[in-house]
């Protein structure tokens, strides 16, 4: 079968799988029948990557060449040339749409070029007419005009650009003391596409990267968007975001995990850093709230709904998947709730007590993860447990607020428990060998 036909066949089979006409094993057998099993797919990825880079370079090169001679051109000529990038990319999009599935490897490249050309056109017109430099207005125009491309061409790259652009918008708004409310509308506009992609196409190559781009953008954008509203509650917000990312990626699915494990790592690391920070008293002095503050602040946060939703989301996932989850995973997902409750009930004058109590959290996660990892012989889980325990040990070892005696006793007790657990596991393994 010719290469052109192989490319067409692969493009069509992707569509058949998406629409449920054939299943994966059947698709694999068809590919094997025509010798299209491995190489066209990898060729397709290479084609896509090369075409994206090529499109970017050509587009940017043309812009630079135009810029070199821009001042010598009359205004009417500049106006016409300003439309050139947009018209060219629209023509290319038309072409690939007409070619259908066989042109699928070009979709991402064309979509990327199309999205970038919108910004180039608007920027060139702004330059021609010396328009004021309102960055947010420029960015919103670009984002809204480019958003339909995400839906039309199902483009992960353009989605990532859109996510980055929305994040840039909210950062600029907040740092300029402007209301960030429009950020939620920007997110809402792209959510249906993202939801559909994660649910329907979790096996596709670009999906994990799409999800990761979205997660990173949210982790940066959300705190900026909510900071004016939430003030001192930002640690709970971060905990909720990290717990959501962890919980979503930890849920078992029929296909690959939606972030290929990157979400669990990102979420767990974020929660580790936060929880260790919360074992230090100065942190609670700034972020603790006397009990009388609970009702006012709590109502404010939950009235707006965002923080409440984030705090509850990992909890809901825990309840739904509880039986299949190890205890340490449950504890990680509960972190924002625990942090919210502790923060609400802590008097800043009693920060030391809260900090000491909160040591139990990373200790609990670490110990439970080690236990689960040893039982299942899962290296990743054991490493997570070691990370939490090790970080806590390091933090306390160098904590000058605790006396040598207190630290010494705590370490001896903890060490004894670990040794006892080790002996228990060895005996258990030995008993299993005797039975076999």
């Amino acid at each position: 079968m010719s290469r052109r036909h192989l490319v067409w066949l692969n493009g069509e089979m992707e569509r058949w799988e998406r629409e449920g006409v054939i299943d994966k094993p059947t698709a694999a057998r068809i590919r094997g029948l025509y010798g299209a099993d491995a190489s066209p797919a990898s060729r397709s990825i290479a084609l896509t990557a090369l075409s994206i880079v090529g499109a970017l370079l050509v587009g940017l090169g043309i812009i630079l060449l135009l810029a070199r001679n821009w001042g010598d051109l009359s205004r009417p000529v500049r106006t016409i040339l300003a439309f050139a990038p947009l018209l060219v990319t629209q023509a290319l999009t038309w072409r690939v749409l007409q070619r259908g599935g066989s042109a699928r490897p070009w979709w991402e490249a064309v979509a990327t070029g199309w999205a970038l050309s919108i910004g180039a056109t608007v920027a060139l017109i702004a330059q021609t007419y010396h328009l004021p430099g309102d960055f947010r207005v420029f960015l919103v125009s670009w984002l809204l005009l480019g958003l339909p491309i995400v839906y039309l061409l199902d483009s992960s790259v353009v989605f990532s650009l859109y996510a980055a652009g929305s994040t840039a918008w909210v950062i600029d708004a907040v740092t300029s003391n402007q209301p960030p409310d429009f950020y939620w509308w920007l997110l809402a506009a792209v959510t249906p596409w993202l939801w559909h992609r994660l649910r329907e196409n979790s096996a596709r190559q670009g999906t994990a990267w799409t999800a990761l781009a979205g997660v990173v953008a949210l982790l940066v954008g959300f705190p900026f968007a909510l900071a004016p509203l939430l003030g001192r509650w930002w640690p709970v917000l971060f905990a909720a975001l990290f717990a959501c990312v962890y919980a979503l990626d930890a849920v078992e699915r029929d296909g690959p995990r939606f972030l290929r494990g990157a979400g669990r790592l990102l979420g767990a690391l974020g929660l580790l850093i936060l929880s260790i920070a919360l074992t230090f008293a100065p942190f609670w002095k700034q972020h603790g709230h006397p009990p009388a503050d609970l009702v006012t602040k709590g109502r404010l946060a939950f009235d707006h709904g965002i923080l409440g939703l984030l705090v509850l989301s990992p909890l809901l996932l825990t309840v739904r998947n509880g039986r299949r989850w190890a205890p340490h995973q449950v504890l990680l997902s509960l972190s924002p709730l625990l942090m919210l409750l502790t923060s609400s009930m802590t008097d800043p004058d009693n920060a030391v007590g809260a900090a000491r109590l909160f040591n139990l959290y990373p200790l609990g996660v670490g110990a439970l993860a080690l236990w689960a990892g040893m039982r299942r012989e899962a290296v990743g889980t054991i490493n997570l447990g070691m990370l939490f325990t090790g970080a806590l040990v390091a933090a306390r070892f160098f904590d000058s607020d605790m006396s040598f005696t207190a630290r010494g006793l705590a370490f001896v007790i903890l060490g004894s428990l670990f040794i006892a657990a080790n002996i228990y596991m060895m005996r258990r393994k030995g008993g299993r060998h005797e039975r076999t």
Binding site: F83, Q90, T93, L97, V122, I125, Q127, T128, L145, L152
Partner: protein, 186 residues
């Protein structure tokens, strides 16, 4: 989505994407071709910060005005600045109005700092220039836009509240010409 639907959606998207920049151009061309030209003095700038990249940073002079009688303006509020001309031909903002004036030329502007005495946000903040001419233009601009010697004007076409910069003038010469003259030497 089937192929015909996708094509239709694409055409719709393409039309909107072309229409938006086209509208930007049409409104500004109408102002440039049919609007009145005013020479607004440009506020003196920090000589080390006038040029950023490929454009001249500018700010109109005379942006402090009393609020319309009986009103207190808020930051970010839209307001209409009536334009008048001095005997020497330069333009300035004469007064503010909370509603669109029925006659005379005016600019649609925003309030930067509100209260009874208002400071306006400059409706124009940049003038783009060629990279090659930039050093000479910068030198000419610094010489003529200092606090003791300000002979720099922005020529702005105004129509129905919208303004478009037509040119930046330094000592009665368009800035490009002033820069070219400077590069060629006396």
């Amino acid at each position: 989505m089937n192929a015909p639907k996708k094509t239709l959606v694409f055409l719709l998207i393409a039309c909107v994407q072309l229409a938006v920049p086209a509208w930007m151009i049409v409104t500004r061309e109408r102002t440039l071709s049919g609007g009145h030209a005013y020479r607004f003095p440009v506020a003196p700038v920090d000589p080390y910060d006038a040029f950023r990249g490929r454009y001249v940073a500018i700010r109109l002079d005379g942006l402090d005005l009393p609020a319309p009688t009986g009103t207190v303006m808020a930051s970010g509020q839209r307001v209409y600045a009536r334009i008048a001309q001095r005997p020497d031909g330069t333009a300035y903002f004469e007064s503010l109005s909370a509603s669109r004036p029925a006659e005379g030329d005016y600019l649609d502007v925003r309030v930067r700092d509100g209260g009874e005495q208002v400071h306006l946000l400059s409706p124009f903040d940049r003038f783009y220039l060629d990279e090659e001419l930039a050093p000479a233009a910068e030198a000419a601009y610094r010489e003529h836009a200092s606090r003791t010697n300000n002979t720099t004007y922005a020529v702005i076409r105004v129509r129905e509240g919208r303004g478009v910069i037509e040119d930046l003038v330094i000592a009665d010469l368009p800035i490009r010409q002033a820069a070219i003259q400077r590069t060629r030497g006396p």
